[in-house]
């Protein structure tokens, strides 16, 4: 029976006709009670379960997912991993995630295919270059790798960009993060699921939370489509559906849900070896390991729970892409899709206790929470285990909206909010 992935296990299974592999995670029946329940089997929920078990020794844990794990935004994103944020609070958060990503394949014994191919945020005017220099300075002071790129540097990493003299968005330079890149999104969900399951966590799919059980003003469990399940510590990590569950728990969040869409072209030979983001064109793009051009852009214009994305936004994204790379005009689009993301006024996540005691929040990641999964999991696990913030999660508490201490990362979040 092969449980650990290694060169030797691969070899043995090759000889045995691949018949001995164990399923990656167990699918047990839900128990009546747990020490902790996590609502939402996306990357953040699964990572929370893993770190609860690994860092805090709490293993009587259930992850409850209404669909299938990783079927939400974690399986729908454009897989960019980076930590090029502006404010120190964000740098602590995304920097932690980035460092954990760098050791994740080894930690989970699961290849998450982190590819640190670098990322450039383009500047299209002298004014944008000045902002770029300021951002690079901030990143360097905060201990994040960053470099101010000249037009020649950009040409070196992205030679197929439109450098012609009459380009609508000429390149004046860019903000470069060499450690940025991509990771395989499904693998992140599956890797955490497998590692958490091996530590005893119950992963329960097709189990929708329909209500909360409250007693004495505290949350004591959840009602689900598979019956009532009780716990005194409950974590909420449902991304675009945070407001829906908050309403059941009796409070409102500073969140609007929007569709964010992406699309991929047919696969072609390697042509783009880095991630390129152009704020002017409202587009970011990379090439997948399969050869597809992966294209992302800004939010849809209308608050929405319709998981498909609307046409005007797709048109402007494609128009922007062709300004950047006229050469891509020949490509066929293979697929287009959308995810429902939870957008917060300051473009920073919400991590901390909720207004309902025993219920803790991990939400508001909006368009950019894939890169943050290891940190979001670590911090929600810490909150569930100790009931308290640590220094990294404290600034992201819900109370920042009443206190006026916003962390306005509209620029660092990368894409128009």
């Amino acid at each position: 029976m092969t449980r650990r992935y290694s060169a030797l296990s691969l070899f043995k299974e090759g000889l045995a006709g691949q018949t001995g592999w164990k399923q990656a995670w167990r699918s047990p029946e839900p128990k009546l009670s747990y020490d902790a329940i996590i609502i939402g089997g996306g990357g953040h929920g699964l990572a929370t379960a893993y770190y609860l078990a690994k860092n805090h020794g709490i293993t009587r844990v259930a992850v409850l997912e209404k669909g299938w794990i990783g079927g939400g935004n974690t399986g729908r994103n454009t897989t960019v991993v980076r930590s090029n944020y502006y404010y120190p609070e964000s740098v602590e958060l995304y920097g932690l995630a980035h460092r954990l990503y760098e050791g994740l394949s080894k930690d989970l014994n699961y290849n998450v295919m982190l590819s640190q191919r670098g990322m450039v945020n383009l500047c299209h005017s002298t004014a944008e270059m000045e902002i770029g220099a300021r951002t690079v300075n901030a990143m360097q002071i905060n201990g994040i790798d960053a470099e101010l790129f000249s037009p020649e540097d950009v040409r070196r990493v992205a030679p197929v960009y439109n450098f012609s003299p009459d380009a609508r968005f000429p390149v004046f330079g860019g903000i470069w993060q060499g450690r940025a890149g991509t990771a395989r999104h499904d693998a992140v969900a599956w890797g955490y699921a497998r590692a958490a399951s091996r530590l005893g966590v119950d992963i329960i799919q097709n189990c929708e939370i329909t209500d909360f059980i409250t007693e004495g003003g505290r949350c004591r469990g959840v009602q689900t489509t598979r019956g009532a399940i009780r716990a005194d510590r409950i974590g909420l990590a449902v991304a675009g559906h945070s407001s829906v569950l908050a309403a059941k728990a009796g409070f409102r969040l500073p969140i609007n849900s929007y569709a964010l869409q992406a699309c991929v072209s047919e696969p072609v030979k390697p042509i783009l070896d880095t991630v390129v983001l152009s704020p002017g064109c409202g587009v970011y793009v990379s090439q997948s390991d399969k050869g597809e051009i992966v294209i992302g852009g800004g939010l849809d214009r209308i608050p929405s729970y319709a998981q498909r994305g609307n046409l005007p936004t797709l048109e402007s994204v494609i128009a922007g892409l062709l300004e950047m790379f006229p050469i891509f005009g020949q490509l066929k689009l293979m697929r287009q899709w959308a995810g429902i993301v939870d957008v917060v006024p300051d473009s920073s996540p919400i991590i901390g206790p909720s207004p309902l005691p025993n219920l803790f929040l991990n939400c508001g990641w909006g368009t950019g929470g894939f890169k943050a999964i290891p940190a979001g999991g670590t911090l929600l696990a810490n909150l569930l285990a100790t009931g308290k913030h640590n220094d990294i999660s404290r600034p992201f508490d819900l109370d920042r909206f009443a206190a006026g201490r916003l962390i306005d990362e509209a620029a660092g979040s990368g894409i128009a909010h």
């Binding site: 559906h241 407001s243 829906v244 309403a247 409102r252 969040l253 500073p254 969140i255 609007n256 849900s257 214009r301 209308i302 608050p303 929405s304 729970y305 319709a306 609307n310 046409l311 005007p312 006024p345 909206f401 009443a402 206190a403 006026g404």
Partner: protein, 88 residues
């Protein structure tokens, strides 16, 4: 491409409209409004899945109005001028 009904101009392309927030989110009044009330007004949203009552502006004519809309199907249920006299 979806058409949205402006109560003044009739059905127009969705790109002519801009979303303006929850309807009925009244600005608190007075000198001693508690911070939590301000935070509620400024930041907290209903964000319902299903029927929503929202403020929209038709950017072509500049009018603000209330649109009732299903946030899952995007079906428009009603569109009313803020004064309530026109309906489309």
């Amino acid at each position: 491409m979806q058409l949205f009904p402006c109560p003044f101009c009739g059905p127009r392309d969705e790109t002519e409209f801009h979303y303006g927030g929850d309807a009925g989110n009244a600005r608190p009044d007075g000198a001693d409004v508690p911070t939590d009330r301000w935070a509620g007004y400024l930041y907290r949203r209903g964000n319902p899945k299903g029927t929503a009552r929202e403020i929209w502006v038709h950017m072509s004519c500049g009018e603000f109005f209330v649109m009732e809309r299903d946030t899952v199907t995007h079906m428009v249920l009603s569109s009313t001028a803020l004064g309530g006299e026109h309906a489309a």
